[in-house]
């Protein structure tokens, strides 16, 4: 290989690498164009007045089951659904119990308190999420809804 051919080859490699990087970052950036806003709500309608609940817990739940109503939240950096929930509950001084990316309780309403399959799940834009709350990063205009369910809901519901 002559010297000029080698130079050309190196230049070509550099240009390809730069292009790939640019496209990659552009793809990432287009998904997370900060800041954007999302909507967060936390409801426990299914648990309100449930017979299995201890009296003391039942008294804590709001009558309409809305713990956090549709709040518009400004997102300035990459945020998971779990972090979003935790930071907002902390801001409102609402109790929660999160262990290892799993939400065990919100507002002292614990999993399994309304039957063996009850607990907290979250919906993104109306459909049940298929990934863990700590691994899903929120996107622009997402409607995130945490809901207390009495049994595991079907996907796509």
């Amino acid at each position: 290989m002559s010297k000029t051919a080698a130079k050309k080859f190196i230049a070509l490699c550099a240009v390809t690498a730069a292009l790939t990087a640019a496209v990659f970052f552009a793809a990432c950036e287009s998904e997370y164009e900060h800041p954007f806003s999302v909507t967060l709500s936390v409801t426990c309608t299914a648990a309100v007045g449930h017979a299995d609940l201890p009296e003391t817990v039942r008294a804590l739940l709001p009558a309409d089951g809305v713990i956090l109503s549709d709040e518009s939240i400004e997102i300035t950096k990459k945020t998971s659904v779990l972090t979003l929930l935790r930071e907002n509950l902390q801001q409102q001084r609402i109790q929660f119990d999160i262990s290892g990316g799993y939400v065990r309780a919100i507002n002292n309403l614990y999993e399994k308190q309304c039957g063996p399959f009850s607990g907290w799940v979250y919906y993104i834009n109306g459909s049940l999420a298929s990934s863990g709350a700590s691994s899903y990063a929120v996107r622009a205009d997402d409607v995130i809804e945490w809901r207390y369910v009495l049994s595991a809901p079907e996907f796509g519901a």
């Binding site: 003391t56 902390q90 929660f96």
Partner: protein, 291 residues
């Protein structure tokens, strides 16, 4: 065995009845007020019995247990409505009080066992159970002294090894010490068994060293303690001492007259050894002044 005051002076059955009841009742109740009153009763009784050594025991064992339980509970349970601050999960007042109560229960039981050791000597224990359950009582008494006895013997073995010029550390020498301890203890066990048989241990006609007849006062104290224990057990089963920590502590208005009466009875029961002891000491001192 008429030495001492209060429970030390009465028949061992009365003292044993008291400790069995107070330890079991304390251990089955997770209620802040009950734990506190049991801890106070046990603490003051230990101080009366052992003075400074009791304070040392409290600081060395009971207090760390309380601190440990409080810390672990506060960090691992985030249930409760009163949020104090956040360490990822909220740290709540309810979980701290629950931890304090759990630690208090364990500390109170430890202190009651400490007082038990000071009031009921192995002699008194054998005197109480030596004829009813001779084998069990002997095994329990011997195993209670196992650890200190082996420690003492191992020290002696080590000293003997040094004197014959084979002392020092190392696995091989440690093994030889252990082997000596083992054969000594096995041999001693056989000798003890033969000796106890030669003395007629366990025979119905044989009386223990500290055999003591039940006097009227012993029977009176024993029946008072039994009545207390029976009432408290029934009340506890009925749920008089139940307490919920989560999600919120019950408001004080919840307490009924019955619950208050049960608590008063429990408090009196826990303070009974201190009251008996102090009353007798005072009576003894005033009688000395009269002379």
């Amino acid at each position: 065995m008429n030495s001492g005051f209060g429970l030390q002076r009465y028949h061992a059955a009365a003292a044993f009845m008291f400790f069995a009841a107070v330890i079991i009742l304390t251990a089955v109740t997770v209620h802040p007020a009950y734990a506190a009153v049991s801890l106070i009763g046990a603490f003051f009784y230990c101080i009366i019995l052992k003075k400074g050594a009791a304070v040392k025991f409290f600081l060395l064992f009971a207090l760390p247990v309380i601190i440990l339980f409080t810390l672990v509970n506060a960090l691992s349970v985030s249930s409760g409505v009163t949020i104090l601050f956040y360490l990822y999960n909220p740290v709540t007042l309810e979980s701290i009080i629950n931890g304090l109560t759990l630690g208090g229960v364990i500390a109170a039981v430890l202190l009651w066992f400490y007082a038990y050791g000071a009031v009921i000597s192995p002699h008194r224990f054998l005197g109480l159970f030596g004829r009813v359950l001779p084998k069990t009582a002997l095994v329990l008494t011997m195993s209670a002294g196992l650890f200190p006895r082996y420690k003492r013997r191992l020290k002696e073995v080590k000293r003997a090894q040094i004197l014959i010029g084979k002392g020092g550390g190392g696995i091989k020498k440690g093994y030889r010490n252990l082997a000596a301890l083992l054969s000594w203890s096995l041999c001693d066990g056989l000798e003890t068994a033969a000796s106890m048989r030669a003395r007629g241990y366990g025979l119905k006609t044989r009386k223990p060293l500290t055999f003591k007849k039940m006097r009227a006062s012993d029977i009176a104290v024993l029946s008072i303690l039994t009545a207390f224990a029976a009432f408290l057990t029934a009340a506890f089963i009925a749920g008089a001492a139940s307490f919920t920590f989560y999600p919120s502590l019950p408001p004080s208005a919840d307490y009924s007259l019955f619950a208050a009466a049960v608590f008063a009875a429990f408090a009196l029961f826990c303070l009974l050894p201190v009251i008996l002891h102090t009353e007798e000491v005072l009576r003894w001192r005033t009688s000395l002044l009269k002379i």
